[in-house]
Amino acid sequence: MKADIRVALVGNPNTGKSTLFNVLTGLNQKIGNFPGVTVDKKTGYTNLPDGRTAEIIDLPGTYSLYPKSQDESIVFSVLADQANPSKPDLVVVILDASNLKRNLLLYTQVADLKIPVVIALNMIDLADKAGITIDIDLFSKKLGVPVVPISARKIAGIDKLKAAISYANKIALQEESIDVEAIAPQLIAAISDQLKIDNPYFALQLAHQHETLKFLSAKENDTIEGLEQEFSFHSQKAQGTETIARYSFINELLYDTLKKPETAQDESLSNKIDKVLTHKIFGFILFFAILLFMFQAIFSWSSYPMELIADLFVWVQNQLHHLLPAGPLTSLLVDGVIAGLSGVIVFIPQIAILFAFISILEDTGYMSRVTFMMDKLMRKVGLNGKSVVPLIGGFACAVPSIMSTRTIENWKDRMITIMVTPLVTCSARLPIYTLLIALVVPNRNVWWLFNLQGLALTGMYIFSLVSAVVVAFVFKLILKGRERGYFIMELPVYRMPRWNNVLYSMYERAKTFVLQAGKVIIAVSVILWVLASYGPGNRFEKIDQKYQQPQYTKTLNADELNRAVASEKLENSYAGVLGHFIEPAIRPLGFDWKIGIALITSFAAREVFVGTMATIYSVNGSAEKMESVQKKMGSAKNPETGQPVFTLAVAFSLMMFYAFAMQCASTVAVVYRETKNWRWPAIQFAYMAVLAYAASFIAYHLLK
């Protein structure tokens, strides 16, 4: 889509910026990357009242243009770099009307870059409720920019905001906020002169940030560095002076335009809620109750839609086997592609439910209370209160969670968080656990409401957290810190979750899973089908010939004969050969060569396990009688002993293997991307493989 004007949304975290972005763009948005860095770039389009189309860019939330993390550093680059492909024509600064003072700091910085600005005064309804009155006309006049009161949640004032965007001036008309040049007069003059910059605040920011800015050439960098030495520029002192000057400007501005009720207010609702939610005892009980409820919900609520999807695919497969002529192509389509597709689609309900919970926890403001409560505990094991979010996010998927560690400013804390996040039970392990637990754990209730299977699953989740904590502690002892860690975090006011955002997040995550994991899963399914359907040399012909001999055709009926042929063919296929090859290594863990095949294929992605099992057992079983994978695995017998393959010991040994092994190509890739060094994913892969083997071995021999 071609846009006539590019608009960037800038604001503090928790100001409703994302909500405004969703309201403006609807589902007409996409997520990409800013070039050269791994920061998500959300863009969308909106129609303006004058008929033009505006491209809206949602920039990461930040408290100031001085970045504290990689995410925040992108804001300055996009706004100030003339050559940046995302450079906006207009900036909409979103201010929380109920918390104007702190919000205005960022506004004054952005305004001083002399980009055309419109102010969206969000949550004006909440400010009204709190008795805050703002003289908007005077406010707008003093700043020299259009100010539009809105409520993004209630979708109020959006049309006026769009009108303000379309009629905004192309040149920046805002009033000066502070005397920027007074902060470092000679340095700013020298940088402006040598780099041909006409904006003093841009020149000053270059002095502060030049070492990390990607758009500066090496020569420009050296020039700035030299000038800093010459004028003995002290970055932190200058920043302190600037911040104090900005706040005194803000105080003066608000003195004339903002009236707060003078009498002390009643205790705020958030404060009352906090008294319970962060209580010494209730706080922790509630937190663990929420976690337990989440997993019970994922387990039970998703079962009905999952069965429905599974049944639908079985029906489609049956129909296709009837309709299409039997042959290798039909088999490839039905037993390869569709079987793999079914293995992807069936897990959408679980992923959607999990992301609904995570998005509600974040939206309400509860997630930051979790961080607040857990910081001391997390610090003991080398993590950071902020590590709680990636770790909990890890319950869904390690890939976005590892990307979210960028909010942790401290290098060591961040590295440890990245290293242990893949240990947390992600949604890709969930299907494997549910499948294996359903096989070996009886489905009945204990103490009225706890389902035994649900408890086993909760146990796996808690186990994963414990192992992550232990490994984090070990890394804390090994790794050396680079800088001191700090923890200064806003506790946002409690709010009702925005159901639109929850739904959008469910949709987005499910889509990402299907598109990204799905591709790998289906590709692996097809490869597997080939591996399982063809064998080296003329082994298959020999098997066919062998079973045509009278000693078999006379003693066995047609059904038994077919099964014997299929079973022997699988054992002699490429997959079987590969499985047999690694069998000696995995025998001590209780695994046979069929499980060996699944281990090999799921090194690309864990989810493949279920698809592999489907393919292996549907190839092995009679193709007409389609049973669900679970039933097939349950009825699988060891051909030598006649005992079931999936005993309690084998199932738990297998779960231990999946709990520890780094079987996810996407995670390896994202760890490399985030650490910019192959050493980290290599260390991670190695330590997880060792743990996986050891844990499986112990589990198998304890339960055998």
């Binding site: 918390n99 003072k101 702190r102 932190q236 302190g240 911040t243 962060t278 607040f372 505990l377 200064i488």
Partner: protein, 71 residues
């Protein structure tokens, strides 16, 4: 008197900072000299603390609160 010495519910006014790096970050968040701060609560495990400053809640560790000198 340091901010970390206040108990839940107690108030104070920021006078100065003992740590330059920390001061820059705190001031950005609205915690400036002359500003009133009130300890709202202390985390269940005794650290970090939550303070009210400039009309909102901010959490910080005790070690960080120790760098804030009160009047």
């Amino acid at each position: 008197m340091r901010l970390s010495q206040l108990l839940a519910g107690q108030k104070g006014i920021v006078k100065e900072f003992t740590d330059l790096e920390m001061s820059v970050k705190l001031m950005e968040m609205g915690c400036l000299p002359g500003e009133e701060v009130c300890v709202e609560r202390i985390a269940p495990l005794g650290d970090p603390i939550a303070i009210n400053v400039a009309g909102y809640s901010l959490s910080l560790r005790k070690r960080e609160a120790f760098t804030i000198v009160l009047q």
